[in-house]
Amino acid sequence: MSDKLMRVLVVEDEKKTASFVRKALQAEGHAVDVIQDGTEALVAVANTPFDVVVLDVMLPGRDGLSVVRQMRERKIGTPVLLLTARGEVSEKVEGLNAGADDYLAKPFALAELIARVRALGRRGSDTKSLTLRVGDLTLDTVTRKVKRGDAPIELAPREYLLLEFLMRSAGRICGRMDIVEKVWDYDFDPGTNLVDVYIMRLREKIDADFEPKLLQTVRGVGYVLKEPV
């Protein structure tokens, strides 16, 4: 898993939010620029080849949606992750229609933000491999067969989807919100231990009788499937 280091532009007028987002992305090794104004952001993306733009919707100068729209009109294809306090479906649709690539509602988990920024930066280079492998756990996306070593593992449909999602993001923390969106098709935080229950079940099946344990919980943040070092 070689994640390339990226140059990320964070456009956010709320200083504290901008500060922890910058720190978190820098801790991942990315180079981060912070701008607080929509109009300036538009100038910056035109002059600097950023890999990803993290863009707040509510901005002084020019709001986030109009920034994306302008970027796309000027044929600037830099991937954009929109941040908004509203978390409303119509706004999500509006944001994606304006040309944003992904959307995150505030308050968000940092891990979620980091994972999505990474996913956007890798976009295009991401090949959909047919067999996924983490340690001795394998998942064949064609036959939908899952094996740990040579032992076949039976999974319910949702458990399979969850495992496939975790394996595709192997090695990095998956936020709960990312999981419920991609595996459950929810656009809201279900506010339950639904994900935890499925993770527990999955753990019983893929980890209980095997060593090493691959599926780990990062408290308050999410889950990660990886081979322990």
Binding site: P107, A111, G191
Partner: protein, 354 residues
């Protein structure tokens, strides 16, 4: 014209007719008949007797006419008031913005309608202020929540944080997550109240969503060893928002699971009959007493106070479920036999195109 003037006019008209009748009768009896029978020898009624006759035969019908006519007049005159009453009966907090129709003829009822409409406008304003206040408050709360969450997570991810601090920050994060859920729920409800809730209108296969949530319920009920059953699942295509309908199903199944005792039963069923998709979710358990039943959809209401500590949640789940059902032109009801069965029934119109 005012009701008073109208009544005066109509009633005087009526009395005038009565009087004219009496006068005509008297004129006939006293003048016409007298001149026809001039022979004084012939015994006839004395004028006094004749007068009595006139009063009897003329006055009584006139009185009757006045009573019947009066009743009719009152009914006519007060009809606008009855219409007004019927219109006021249809006023609910959600329909405050609608104005009652006024006749524009300037009478008392018209004036009353105007005053009532202006009162409703003032009430509607206050209601919207309160709703928008809740919406803005939940929106404003998200910024500090975002910052708190982000900063605590930054500390959690910092390898220099000691394990005791780590524990402390993780607990804080749990509380922030809980607060976020309440704020989200409030935002959802105030959006539904103010009509800002965006509900998509796309064909949704309700049966597929029901099967999904049945699978989830089976797993969620495991820790309590619940027996979860899908007793029927007719195909049903409805028009609506699949995210909101998923949310509805999750809310209801979760709620049912929460209130089922260990080893209890949970039965989900979806029937399609007469253009309606009927979803029932029934669970065994302590149930809800009759006096508490009408309040279960109230915000922040949580059945038995004794359960507060034991059962998680903020008491907004059923209110949200109700808003979602209403937004889909459906109905939701809950019946409960304490210590036996509690059943939630949701009815949604089935899409015509199938």
């Amino acid at each position: 014209m005012t009701i008073r003037n109208r009544l005066v006019l109509w009633y005087s008209g009526l009395l005038l007719i009565g009087l004219l009748l009496i006068a005509g009768w008297a004129w006939y009896e006293m003048v016409v008949e007298h001149s026809m029978s001039r022979t004084p020898a012939q015994e006839g009624d004395t004028p006094l007797e004749e007068f009595g006759e006139v009063i009897l035969y003329g006055g009584l019908p006139a009185l009757l006419l006045a009573v019947v006519g009066g009743w009719f007049l009152m009914r006519r005159a007060l009809a606008p008031l009855s219409r007004f009453t019927r219109a006021v009966e249809q006023v609910y907090p959600e329909t405050l913005g609608e104005q009652l129709p006024s006749t524009g003829n300037g009478d008392e009822v018209d004036r009353l309608t105007e005053v009532f409409n202006s009162m409703m406008r003032r009430l509607d304003n206050s209601f919207s202020h309160i709703r928008e206040f809740t919406l803005n408050a939940s929106h404003e709360l998200k910024t500090p929540l975002t910052i708190m969450r982000g900063e605590i997570e930054t500390r959690l991810r910092d390898p220099a944080t000691s394990s005791a601090d780590h524990e402390f920050f993780a607990d804080q994060l749990d509380e922030i997550t809980r607060l976020t859920k309440i704020v989200d729920a409030l935002a959802f409800l105030s959006k539904a109240d103010t009509g800002y809730l965006a509900i998509a209108s796309e064909p949704v296969h309700l049966d597929e969503l029901v099967r999904d949530s049945f699978a989830d319920a089976q797993l969620l009920g495991r820790p309590q060893a619940l027996q979860v059953e899908l007793s029927s699942c007719d195909t049903a295509l409805v028009r609506g928002d699949r995210y909101r309908l998923r949310q509805l199903l999750l809310n209801l199944t979760e709620n049912a699971i929460k209130y089922t005792r260990p080893q209890g039963h949970l039965t989900i069923a979806l029937h399609r009959k007469n253009g309606t998709a009927e979803l029932t979710i029934a669970n065994t358990g302590p149930g809800i007493s009759q006096e508490k039943l009408p309040r279960v959809f109230d915000r922040f209401y949580r059945g038995d106070p004794a359960h507060h500590g034991a059962i998680e949640g903020c008491g907004l789940g059923l209110s949200i479920a109700q808003s979602i059902v209403k937004a889909h032109q459906g109905t939701i009801q809950i019946v409960s036999e304490p210590d036996k069965l509690t059943t939630v029934t949701v009815r949604l119109p089935v899409s015509q195109v199938e």
